[in-house]
Symmetry: C2
Subunit: 147 residues, 2 copies
DNA sequence: TTAATATAGGACTAAAATTGTCGGGTTTAG
DNA sequence: CTAAACCCGACAATTTTAGTCCTATATTAA
């Protein structure tokens, strides 16, 4: 309930991991899988999604991998979640692609109130960037271990 | 993904509905079920939960029902979600009652970053009250229909 | 005092979403 | 030409959510 999906967690872990490396130093799916105990095929798909949206860039072939494609303050949590799980909509009736109409029909009194929550939440996650998260990472003793 | 559960939606609808009535005017589960097309046994259980947490008060017997038990600015969205679905934790590792330990073990670099998101989100939903939502309701043409 | 309509609540089933797996590609360094 | 990497769709397993069923208690009114 109101929780990030594992895929989003994996995406954040991966991006933070890459943000600790300098320049175009590569990170492979296997490396992330090993280091964080994430099923390799799953992390692979997450990375592919991130690559498609150009948050990271891929290098194919042996010795290939990924590196950050954008500065860390240009990537917001909102964008990451959207890329992985689709746009964050707090209630279904606010979704854009909504095929089946709202069952409440004209009786719905909540659409507008939910709209406020949604708009405020959008701002919240739009302005929360990888940089904000990375800062906290720097205070954490373990991070020094990441090469 | 990052969406309120139906139960939480139902709780918000119910509370906003009751907030439109004055004093101790009662609202029954049947009334809410009819008006918003919600399965009656489901809305009942949501109301029971809200009553147990004393957001609303119940009156039993024929002509019974519920009425708001607290001023609208004393009820936050955070409290409602907690009452219905348990505490909002953005990632599983931040849960209090966590029996199985984090699979990342000492490799986890994300717990602290997620902690920031969590803390900021807590503030966000703690300070968002029924009053904030009801205000938007007032601007909505349909609300006049609720007696 | 009985019938009707409320809330109270546990146990169960159905449906949906998430998570993880499988099997097949293509690319490239050595 | 082979190993190690990315690419990608389809599937299976698991978990969570949503909804149902059934029984009990309370209260009003005929």
């Amino acid at each position: 309930m109101l929780r990030f999906s594992k895929k989003v967690e994996y995406a954040l872990i991966s991006l933070l991991h890459m943000s600790q490396k300098k320049g175009e130093q590569l990170t492979s799916a296997a490396e992330l899988s090993r280091q964080y105990h994430i099923p390799q095929e799953l992390i692979s798909k997450v990375l592919q999604r991130l690559a498609k949206e150009e948050f990271i860039r891929s290098v194919q072939g042996v010795k290939g991998g990924y590196f950050l494609g954008q500065p860390i303050d240009a990537i917001s949590v909102s964008q990451i979640v959207s890329a992985i799980d689709g746009p964050m909509k707090i209630v279904s009736c606010l979704e854009h692609r909504q095929t089946d109409r709202c069952i409440q029909k004209n009786h719905c009194t909540i659409k507008n109130p939910m709209g406020i929550i949604q708009r405020r939440l959008d701002i919240f996650f739009d302005t929360l960037t990888l940089r904000d998260l990375q800062q906290e990472l720097s205070n954490h003793p373990k991070t020094a271990e990441i090469s």
